[in-house]
């Protein structure tokens, strides 16, 4: 393909039609269309649902909207956010995408530093996938927040809040990763040699800071003991993210590199790394819950989350992958393990977020169960099924990954193997 050189980058000369209307992009658009339906659903509930306050009935008692609002207030669920489960599927997907995406970037940087040549050759593609996942996570969380008030993140910042630290973090992290990809693509050997080590060390530092801030965000919620008592939360996030990141790398390698001669070498390396991190994660899961508040541990290990914890998480993230990759074999088994850990990793995040909210805050005082009012049903745990709009946005966020990655690849051919350093 004809190329244009700009600032050392070799840019493919591609038509707008070819760029925006190929099979991969159409798949991305399909997912994005689902996301748009979801956003419509969510925004309709958030900004336009019938809701009234105690003064409305006095001001305009014959208003039909008031009638609907009062009907919902008495017989239905009012509004988007349930008091018991403030963080839902949005946060699950945000965590999953951000941690897994930055995990891919972290692992690739680490592999370069440790001299794994085959990973270094494919680094640009892996990093583009990781960055696409980060964008998918940000897309998800942007739909969850009330963006109309986001300006206050800059005007009146609370700089010690984990939530606020996310803003400068991503403002630093994303350009940093883009610069890394730029260095990988430009093949400026002299500069690359000079900058390679400091850039890589710095990139690992930035990755560590990112996981630290994510852990701080959860650790500040002192009321939720699953999140605050899980040991070494930063490292738990890193280890569990690495497992699903390696799964993403395995699937990506199959989709993009399967016809290249380095494919088996690449998959074997992914297999070894996955085996190592799956084993560490298994140890974490065994010992982790011994230190967590028993109310939360019991809900997850022996309570209502038991089937999904053992059947969804332990089986898919730890048991099956271990079985598939324990012995060196065909790359196909690594691919199977990759699919398992990618799904299992998501289930793990789901349990972590929903599990953190599962123990009712009001269930920890006095004798017996304390409830809000006559209308609240008594139950020993909190669970609210995700709204259809949320599910569509989460599924639709796959479209962000597909579109962002494909744009990178169409313009910069990030999927090619490159000799680096």
């Amino acid at each position: 393909m004809e190329k244009i050189t700009f600032a050392g980058l070799e840019i493919n000369k591609i038509s707008i039609f070819g760029l925006l209307f190929n099979k991969t992009m159409l798949l991305g658009y399909f997912f994005m269309a689902l996301a748009m339906v979801g956003i419509y659903e969510i925004f309709d509930v958030r900004y336009f649902s019938a809701a009234a306050n105690a003064h409305a009935s006095g001001l305009n008692p014959t208003d039909p909207a008031l009638k609907e609002a009062m009907r919902l207030a008495v017989f239905g669920d009012v509004g988007e956010v349930n008091r018991n489960i403030p963080w839902t599927l949005f946060i699950v997907n945000y965590m999953y995408m951000i941690y897994t995406g930055s995990g891919v970037i972290f692992i690739v940087a680490l592999a370069e530093l440790m001299g794994f040549h085959v990973i270094a050759k494919a680094a640009a593609g892996f990093m583009a996938v990781g960055l696409s996942m980060v964008f998918a996570g940000l897309f998800t969380i942007a739909t969850d927040l009330n963006m109309l008030n986001m300006l206050w993140m800059v005007l009146t910042p609370n700089i010690s809040a984990g939530m606020w630290l996310m803003l400068p973090l991503y403002c630093t992290y994303i350009p940093f990763v883009l610069f890394e990809i730029y260095l990988l693509l430009t093949n400026k050997r002299e500069w690359a040699k000079r900058l390679a080590l400091p850039i890589l060390v710095l990139s690992i530092g930035v990755d560590l800071v990112e996981y630290y801030i994510q852990a701080k965000l959860f650790s500040m919620n002192t009321a939720r003991h699953l999140w605050t008592e899980f040991p070494f939360l930063t490292f738990y996030f890193i280890i569990s993210a690495f497992v699903s990141s390696l799964g993403v790398m395995g699937i990506y390698s199959y989709l993009v590199h399967k016809n290249k001669e380095e494919y088996n070498e690449l998959m074997d390396l992914i297999r070894k790394a996955m085996l190592f991190f799956v084993s560490i994660l298994a140890l974490y899961e065994v010992f982790g819950y011994m230190t967590v508040d028993k109310d939360w541990s019991f809900l997850i290990l022996f309570g209502p989350f038991k089937p999904i914890y053992f059947g969804g998480y332990i089986l898919l993230t730890l048991a099956l992958p271990f079985f598939f990759i324990f012995k060196p074999g065909k790359s196909f088994y690594t691919l199977l393990a990759s699919v398992c850990v990618v799904i299992g990793g998501f289930v793990g995040r789901y349990i972590f977020v929903y599990g953190g909210n599962a123990n009712p805050m009001s269930n920890r005082f006095g004798l017996g169960y304390e409830k809000y009012d006559f209308y609240a049903l008594e139950k020993s745990f909190n669970y609210v099924a995700p709204h259809l709009g949320e599910i569509l946005i989460v599924v639709g966020s796959l479209g962000v990954i597909v579109i962002v990655y494909k744009l990178f690849d169409s313009i910069l051919s990030v999927s090619d193997f490159r000799e680096h350093h």
Binding site: A54, N146, Y369
Partner: protein
């Protein structure tokens, strides 16, 4: 000023007049789940003898409020007298404060698309002796609002003569809802758990004074 509230919960008859008054006074959103204040109900039996305890509750306006620490835009903040408030125009709906609150005292007000909570009715001229709508309405005088800094306030006078406890004291947030322990020993025993710490004003006062001095710089006028 360091506003707080004592709750003589043995007097509560669960009439919910306080909940209604709060909704009316503050224009709180309609809906059973949308409450700034509520009455917690604990039912059980001891050796086959049934009992029901009622614990009126709301935001504890903690001195070390975790909801304020986690708020990225300072929408959650301390107002005068240490009242924890939310500025709805700054709320980005991250819901971090709802997760951080040990008392589940916050909810999303869908009419404002922002988090809402108890304000101790701070629009009712508290400095001039005004009080909260819930206290003004309570027919059995469960609630007593006042200033912990004023030794002559009814609140401090009551706390000096009674023993009391806090909900979830182990969270170390220094809550300011003082639950007055009933004088009747049998009733008192059935209404607290074994690990509830019982306090007197003398033992708790230095701790709260020190905390107030430490955090009051953040209290907005």
């Amino acid at each position: 000023m360091n506003y707080a509230m004592a709750l003589d919960y043995q007097n509560c008859i669960n009439c919910k007049a306080c909940e209604v008054a709060c909704k009316e006074e503050n224009g709180v959103q309609l809906g059973a789940d949308k409450q700034r204040i509520w009455v917690g109900v604990v039912e059980g039996t001891i050796f086959g003898k049934p009992f029901a305890n009622l614990y009126p509750s709301q935001c504890n306006h903690c001195i070390d409020a975790p909801c304020v620490s986690v708020c990225p835009t300072n929408a959650s903040h301390f107002a005068e007298g240490g009242i924890v408030k939310v500025d709805p125009h700054k709320c980005i709906l991250c819901k971090g404060c709802m997760e951080a609150c040990p008392y589940d005292a916050r909810f999303v007000d869908d009419t404002m698309v922002a988090v809402d909570k108890c304000t101790f009715c701070d629009h009712r001229s508290l400095e001039a002796g005004g009080t909260t709508a819930c206290q003004a309405t309570c027919p059995t005088k469960v609630r007593l609002f006042g200033d912990l800094d004023d030794e002559n306030s009814d609140l401090v006078k009551l706390l000096k003569t009674k023993r009391f406890f806090f909900q979830k004291e182990y969270t170390n947030t220094l809550p300011k809802l003082f639950y007055i322990l009933p004088d009747d020993e049998a009733y008192a025993k059935q209404s607290v758990s074994h690990d509830t710490i019982i306090h007197t004003w003398e033992d708790i006062k230095p701790l709260y004074e020190e905390a107030k001095n430490r955090r009051s710089k953040e209290w907005k006028k």
